[in-house]
């Protein structure tokens, strides 16, 4: 079970969090013309990188904040966690 450092609550066990997918995806801005390909990439296409990856976790049984977690997908090592408004 992962041990995730919530930027608000500190180190908490994984069972307090919900996984939220790829943290590098950016939603196209509203009211902007978007090509089919661009939209498909946003909605469906995800990379599954081996190694360092930024992902979202939701501290659902805690402070209810979405956070960004940089994790190694092979070793599960967590390098950094930041609040949703920050970039890794």
């Amino acid at each position: 079970m992962l041990y995730i450092k919530c930027p608000y609550c500190g180190l908490r066990s994984q069972n307090e969090f919900a996984y939220g997918g790829d943290g590098t995806v950016k939603r196209p801005t509203l009211n902007k013309e978007v090509s089919d390909k661009e939209w498909d990439n946003f909605v469906y296409n995800r990379k599954s990188p081996r190694g360092k990856h930024v992902e979202l976790w939701h501290h659902i049984s805690g402070c209810r904040q979405w956070i960004k977690v940089q994790r190694d997908t092979v070793t599960h090592e967590i390098f950094k966690t930041v609040s949703a408004d920050k970039e890794i």
Partner: protein, 998 residues
């Protein structure tokens, strides 16, 4: 029966307390401190089971977790439990156990005939044999395999025992209380670290319990006792026996199973049977020791062949002789301790040592004691069927390939030692890449991946002095790293006998023209020839060889067999062991009972039950409940002998005719506040929200980014910057997460706060033509006329002193209102509604009537918004704003979503107006067409229309709009039904929606 194999005074058992127990129905005696195994051996019982495949007689091989044979079915406190190792089970008064894998009895087992047909049971036998004909599988092969497979029988009864989970945090977790664990724990504890010391056995001390060493001028055993007593008295130390750390997971999370009550006749009051500990440790010290491995020879599974270390443990801990004419067969010095122990107790052993004239202190001691030693000698085979009677021995050539003349030697047990295998399971599970240590012919931990350190013989160190000094040092260093304290205790003086090198020899060659079974895996009956066959058949990867032959796949997970298996593969393949590699170590290290894993999360405790504040009223009024997620909701209120069908029809009809009330507390409610609240709603919902006035509600649909409908509900503007959103019961949590996601990550510039208020408000829906009259009685001072509170209007009122929110919204298609009060007043509100509603013939209605009312109105709900449909599919086109952007809008342009033949929600009526259509039925053109019959759509929801008094269903069907008026068939192969139907509009009742506005 007398204990003829019990010594008079040695051992660490309590001879003052006699314990009686039963094995296979026969009564025996043992002492407090015995295991079932030691007590049976004391009574001369060597035959405890039959082997898995050949049903050969099996006895005891080890004295602990590594035991491959002695697996018994336990009866304790009227519960039966399979897969219990007799070597681990402590004796208690009244214990009952029996053999497994034998029929009709362990002494005479019909399955033993397999032993003579062994040519037909080679490696991969099941894969090769049970392939054809297909029809044989269910009738013959599977029942046969089921009967033959497994060890023991699982109970089918409800387990009345209690199991617990515990979460714990510590600086240093130490797995194993042998010399390494004790040293590490002591040094770390003295330096102020919070320490948990776990020992799988009842006694602390590990190898110190049976070795002849001296630590700090005391015997090893006395030193261990002193250290443990001191540790137990320290407030920063938790010492646990009968506790197996069985799994090493990510981020230094380890799981330990504590057998709290298994050694007692029954669990004490308020005490669990077992407790699972989830331990998050800053550092882990693995001192799990090592397990002796056997040398492989002919018929090496005969009862009476035991590990030399086990024989020594039975002698020193339990005062039990595994035999009175022992043969000790070894390739190293450690088995000499066993021989010397026999000698000290008046038994004359004979040592066969595969080495050619080795020299060491302990060999000298054995010689001086007058023990007969034969160097360059090996055991070729054990003789005897149910017990060793003699052994065939021979001299072996220096290259270990040729045997001399076979000699016969009388003996009643063979104590075998093929050197020691470090127990690296936990290290390997932590992600540590193990490496092969040529010096000891075994794998040891390599570079640490997590915060773990392995010490002692688990790290391949078999020298006590080095073990103790390095463990003291590690304990000190790790605790210093965590606590920053610098309090170092001195390391005690150690004296021990120095051993010489072992012989890298693990398998005795077959004598000429003899075909003896030589077992590698004793529990799964895997022999040397099975592995050789698998290799001849082309299996190369050790992982494949394992699965094909089942080597190491039994409940002991190959603790005594894996390394010899690797040696064999490397010999045959002419490779070195490290390049063959070992199979992956996975948790659990030893079997863990399902009960312990589940813990307290059983039955109703497996998830919370959510009840509305009106629940007890429903109970008192004969509600029949249904699970709605975690909620319990009234499905219908039973009157007299009514069933679901009659009751729901009555309740729904009363709504259409008079007035009904439904508990809608379970609907998700989200409070939304902030100057940008309207903008958020405008982006989340598909329709326009910026112009919704205060005091008005609006129906909205929200999509996922892929254009699929996520949820629907009404949102009401309570005041300028304050909205009240409702969601479906099922999606409440997801919608809140969804809003939080967009507010925190995508549009953090929006100044809005959202919070769940589902449980803060109790809700009641009042529906029916008489609902306004009732509402007026509830709020006599308010103008509730169609003008005063129009459709989709909102107002607040005073319900006999309780502040209430009044929404004019409808899910039933009738004139309807929804009242919300603070949860604490929910029951008060409900009782007032019922009390004042009596004169309007009010009846409560449940979820079944609720569904009926919405289905015949054609209102879509969860069965249509099933995560696969777009708003267009559901006829919600009018709610899609053309002017603004919203979540998921871009996806609605996808080709497939706007295709002409796209599915639509339609109504379906059976032509006979009598036959109800099962939900899930397929709509087809031709009922008797050949399979696969092309499917045009499926029935999503069915009801009995109370308006027209005939069945009515909703369906999602291809090109639905153009199918209205078509006559088709609804097929339900599950219910064996084929029903002629007509497709109609989904808005079956009041298609213009006049009633809700009346």
């Amino acid at each position: 029966m007398s204990q003829t194999y019990r010594l008079n005074n040695s051992g660490q058992i309590n001879r003052d307390k006699k314990i009686s127990f039963k094995f296979n129905g026969k009564k025996y005696f043992g002492y407090e401190g015995d295991t079932l195994a030691s007590a049976l051996l004391a009574n001369g019982v060597h035959l405890v089971g039959r082997s898995f495949k050949y049903h050969r007689p099996r006895g005891f091989f080890g004295a602990g977790v590594d035991e491959p044979y002695a697996i018994v079915q336990m009866v304790r406190n009227n519960e039966t439990e399979p897969n219990v190792r007799a070597t681990e089970q402590e004796l208690f008064e009244g214990l009952e156990a029996k053999s497994v894998n034998c029929w009709p009895s362990v002494n005479f087992d019909i399955g033993a005939i397999n032993n003579f047909f062994n040519k037909f049971l080679p490696a991969g036998f099941y894969y090769k044999t049970f392939m054809w004909p297909k029809s044989f599988w269910y009738r013959i092969y599977e029942p046969f395999i089921r009967k033959a497979a497994g060890f023991g029988v699982a109970s089918t009864k409800y387990d009345s025992e209690r199991y617990e989970h515990k979460y714990e945090y510590c600086d240093l977790l130490i797995a194993g209380s042998g010399p390494a664990g004790l040293s590490g724990a002591y040094a770390a504890a003295k330096n102020g670290a919070n320490v948990i010391l776990a020992e799988e056995k009842p006694r602390f001390g590990g190898s110190l319990l049976t070795s002849e060493v001296n630590i700090g001028n005391q015997s090893g055993k006395d030193w261990a006792e002193k250290i443990i007593a001191e540790l137990k008295g320290m407030p920063n130390v938790t010492v646990k026996n009968r506790s197996q750390v069985f799994g090493y997971y990510d981020h230094n999370m380890l799981v330990m199973s504590e057998k709290v009550s298994d050694h007692l006749p029954r669990s004490k009051k308020f005490s669990p049977k077992q407790r699972l500990w989830y331990i998050r440790a800053k550092e882990v010290l693995i001192s799990s020791g090592s397990i002796e491995r056997p040398i492989v020879f002919g018929n090496n599974d005969t009862p009476g062949v035991v590990l030399a270390s086990a024989a020594k443990e039975y002698l020193k801990v339990y005062g039990v002789l595994v035999g009175k004419k022992p043969l000790v067969f070894t390739n190293n010095d450690s088995a000499y301790e066993t021989a010397i122990e026999f000698k000290k107790n008046g038994i004359d052993p004979i040592i066969l040592d595969s080495r050619n004239a080795p020299k060491s202190e302990i060999i000298e001691e054995a010689k001086n004691l007058g023990i007969q030693i034969k160097f360059s000698y090996v055991v070729v085979a054990a003789n005897g069927y149910k017990k060793v009677k003699s052994a065939q021995i021979a001299q072996i050539s220096p290259d270990k390939k040729n045997l001399g003349k076979i000699e016969k030697i009388n003996c009643d047990c063979i104590c075998v030692s093929g050197f020691w295998t470090p127990t690296i399971h936990l290290s390997s599970q932590s992600g540590n890449k193990t490496k092969f240590d040529e010096k000891i012919d075994a794998f040891v931990p390599g570079k640490s991946k997590q915060n773990e350190t392995t010490v002692g013989s688990a790290n391949g160190i078999f020298n006590l002095e080095e073990t103790i000094s390095s463990s003291f040092e590690k304990g000190y260093q790790l605790s210093k790293k965590i606590t920053n304290n610098d309090n170092k205790v001195s390391t005690p003086q150690v004296s021990e006998k120095k051993f010489t090198n072992h012989d890298k020899f693990w398998c005795v060659p077959l004598p000429d023209k003899k075909n003896l079974k030589r077992f590698l895996d004793f529990q799964n009956d895997v022999t040397v020839s099975d592995i050789e066959l698998a290799l001849r058949e082309g299996y190369r990867s050790i992982e494949h060889v394992k699965r094909y032959t089942t080597l190491g796949m039994a409940t002991d997970q190959g603790k005594t067999s894996n390394l010899n298996g690797l040696q064999l593969v490397s010999d045959v393949e002419n490779k070195v062991v490290p390049s063959v590699g070992h199979t992956t170590f996975r948790p659990p290290y030893t079997p863990v009972s399902i009960g312990a894993i589940v813990g307290r999360e059983i039955g109703k405790h497996s998830k919370p039950t959510r009840k509305s504040p009106i629940h007890s009223w429903h109970e008192k009024n004969n509600a029949v409940f249904v699970d709605a997620g975690m909620w319990l909701r009234p499905r219908y209120y039973k009157k007299g002998s009514e069933g679901l069908f009659e009751a729901s029809k009555r309740e729904a009809a009363n709504v259409r005719k008079n007035v009904g009330v439904c508990d809608v507390t379970t609907l998700g409610k989200i409070d939304i506040k902030g100057p940008d609240a309207a903008e958020l709603l405008n982006r989340v919902y598909t329709n326009a929200w910026l112009k919704l006035p205060v005091g008005k509600a609006r129906y909205g649909v929200m999509l996922r980014e892929d254009g699929i409908v996520m949820d629907d509900g009404t949102t009401t503007r309570i005041s300028e910057n304050h909205y009240h959103m409702t969601t479906t019961t099922a999606q409440a949590a997801n919608v809140l997460s969804h809003l939080e996601y967009y507010l925190q990550l995508v549009w953090p510039e929006l100044n809005v706060n959202v919070v769940s208020t589902t449980e803060q408000w109790a809700g009641a829906a009042i529906a029916g033509p008489k609902s306004r009259s009732l509402l007026q009685k509830l709020f006599p001072d308010k103008d509730l006329s169609n003008e005063g509170l129009p459709f989709m209007g909102y107002t607040e009122g005073d319900l006999f002193g309780v502040p209430a929110r009044i929404f004019r919204i409808s899910f039933s298609g009738e004139l309807a209102y929804e009242l919300n009060v603070q949860s604490d007043f929910g029951n008060f509100m409900w009782e007032k509604i019922i009390e004042l509603g009596n004169e309007f013939e009010i009846q409560p209605y449940g979820t079944e009537a609720l569904s009926t009312l919405r289905i015949e109105m054609g209102h879509v709900a969860g069965s249509e918004l099933d995560g696969r449909t777009t708003p267009y599919d559901n006829g919600l086109d009018g709610l899609i704003s053309k002017k603004k952007d919203f979540i998921g809008k871009r996806s609605l342009n996808r080709e497939a979503f706007i295709a002409k033949s796209r599915q639509k929600v339609v109504g379906v009526v059976p032509l006979d107006k009598k036959t109800s259509i099962p939900e899930g039925s397929h709509l087809v053109k031709d009922a008797s067409a050949k399979l696969p019959n092309p499917k045009l759509g499926h029935i999503s929801a069915s009801c009995w229309s109370v308006e027209y008094n005939n069945p009515f269903s909703l369906a999602i069907m291809k090109d639905g709009k153009n199918m209205i008026g078509k006559k088709l068939y609804a097929l339900s192969p599950l219910k064996n039904k084929s029903i002629p139907v007509e497709i109609v509009s989904s808005h079956y009742v009041d298609p213009k929606g006049e009633r809700v506005r009346s």
